[in-house]
Amino acid sequence: MKQLMKGNEAIAEAAIRGGCRAFFGYPITPQNEIPEYCSKRMPEVGGVFIQAESEVSAINMVYGAAGAGARAMTSSSSPGISLKQEGISYICGSELPCLIVNIVRAGPGLGGIQPAQSDYFQAVKGGGHGDYHMLVYGPESVQEAVDIAYDAFDKAEKYRAPVMILGDGMLGQIMEAVEIPPMKDPATFPKKDWVTDGTGIGSNRRIINSLYIEPDALETVNHRLFARYKEMAENETAFECYKTDDAEIVLVAYGTVARICKSAVNMLRANGIKAGLFRPITLYPYPYEVLAKIAAQDSVKSFLAVELSMGQMVEDVRLGVNGKKPVEFFGRTGGAVMSPEDIVKVVMQKEGR
Amino acid sequence: MSSISIDKEKCKGCGLCVKACPKKVIEISADESNKSGYFVADPVRMQDCIGCTFCALMCPDVCITVEK
């Protein structure tokens, strides 16, 4: 049965139904409904909720809890996610699964509290130190965010890496009718033989660690991580092609901006311009290959990346298109959001109409 | 009659046991070194050992066993 839920609360409930039993967070707008919801809901399901003293502590609590075997998550918004970067690097280095939700707000600095997509680089290129990646999703709707959060821990545990949901203020605050799947039974979760739950002793003891003093040992770890990322790219890459089959101009956008672009595509088509939208759902791994195929289509004349930033994902669009067709950019920042009409106007101008 | 035994390969010759021993049983050897190159602790006056365990309590490398 569908129910009307705010994005932030729906994400929290879906994560809990997906097995999350430990939430550690710190208040920051516009994601506060996630910790608020968890503070009420976790005790009902026998889980743990702590409002930490900082985002730094919250992510390290996730480290501890995930290392001890729990399905643990944290959420925050841009400045808070910056504070978590140290912990995220350690979590990736120590190969711990968890869920991190970033309800992005405009930056840099304290920025604003309105929606933005300016944390894309931080999320997909590695905001912390060292060679690592996370499985990063950019859902366009509350339902999609719910579905991702619901399965996030299964994927995080499969690859022993964090899953990040990169939302924005719109996704977090909007209310939509959603179907939340039933509670998963923890008994069905795959066993984790690496957790430090205290039972280890002698040759069975487990160590959660990201320190490798010997260069060869650390290089081996990095290769192991990247072998997993390769596997992740093969299995998890997700995207949507919207009216791209005969498109001449292909918009590329993710998250809530993609929804605005879909309206723009239809308005452009009504004006006789064959527009389409390519929407990456996974931002890491990025669907480069599909984008390359679209770029190779005879019909396609050019791409327009549309983002709530000064142009971040557009760099991945260029990598995917690889010079085959021109790639242009249209963005709004500071929390300002473009309308479908704005996008139509930009495309019409480029088309000389 | 008490005695101590020192795992000399673990000993780093720091001398804390020498200072702790109330009976001056132990000295740092002037010529015996281990594989790590440390001149090691040597119980030269074992007959005086009273098994008080002070040497072991202070040994930072936990390389002393005491019998009493």
Partner: protein, 249 residues
């Protein structure tokens, strides 16, 4: 003759990497012995810091997590909350706990987090090469206070036990010194008490151990013990700073 002292089973056979005379080894032994005596085999999880004791995960014969600099109390919170029946101990140095990790330790203490923290205070940064620590004494020379710590430039040493004992959360706060056999025995008792409090669900405990760093102090291991006993204890007096059991009596 019977064996009256041997290495505890709660330490692994791996040789400590510490410098000769460094008291980290004594602290490790005391914790491991207390764990064994309290029956924590197969029930303990240790949190290793950043600093010289970063390799503590090699030495304790139990599950271990190595965590980011200063964040051990936060990670331990995560562990303990999802494994409430296990014994969680945290091992931190003065840079880790009293400088970069002040927020984490204060709030773990304020929450009364049911963990046991062993705080090694040797008044200097060891691993990075002898820089000034938050607990460096006034006038003490380090590689970043080459003319001696000057309070007008670098402030005064932080007294962790005094600070934390003002909070309602902790059940037991004590400062001991690893300077001589008698004080080492007292330290063992304090560590045992801290772990026992955790097992009994009494909440947060912290045992500060005044320790040495002969290498970076630039003195012999024995002179370093004397420094602890004669100089450090003047600024960091030994004793029990909080004990809810004593308060109840």
């Amino acid at each position: 003759m019977a064996v009256v002292f041997e290495k505890t089973k709660m330490l692994t056979d791996v040789n400590f990497h510490y410098c000769p005379g460094c008291t980290h080894g004594i602290a490790h032994r005391l914790i491991a012995e207390a764990l064994e005596e309290l029956g924590c085999e197969g029930k303990a999880i240790g949190i290793a810091p950043v600093g010289c004791a970063v390799f503590a995960y090699k030495y304790f014969n139990c599950d271990m997590q190595q965590v980011a600099h200063g964040r051990a109390p936060a990670a331990a919170t995560g562990v303990k909350r999802v494994c409430p029946d296990k014994v969680v101990f945290v091992y931190q140095g003065d840079g880790d706990l009293a400088s970069i990790g002040t927020a984490e330790i204060i709030h773990a203490a304020a929450r009364g987090e049911n963990i046991t923290v062993i705080f090694i205070n040797n008044a200097i940064y060891g691993m990075t090469g002898g820089q000034m620590a938050p607990t460096t004494l006034i006038g003490q020379k380090t590689t970043t206070s080459p003319h001696g710590r000057d309070a007008s430039v670098s402030g005064n040493p932080i007294k962790v036990c005094e600070l934390l004992s003002t909070l309602d959360g902790p059940s037991y706060i004590a400062r001991c010194a690893l300077s001589d056999p008698a004080n080492v025995m007292k330290a063992k008792k304090a560590i045992t008490k801290g772990l026992k409090n955790q097992i009994e669900g009494k909440g947060f405990s912290l045992i500060e151990l005044l320790s040495t760093c002969p290498t970076n102090m630039g003195i012999t291991p024995i002179a370093a013990l004397d420094y602890v006993k004669n100089e450090m204890t003047k600024i960091f007096p030994l004793g029990v700073y909080k004990d809810i059991d004593a308060a109840q009596k």
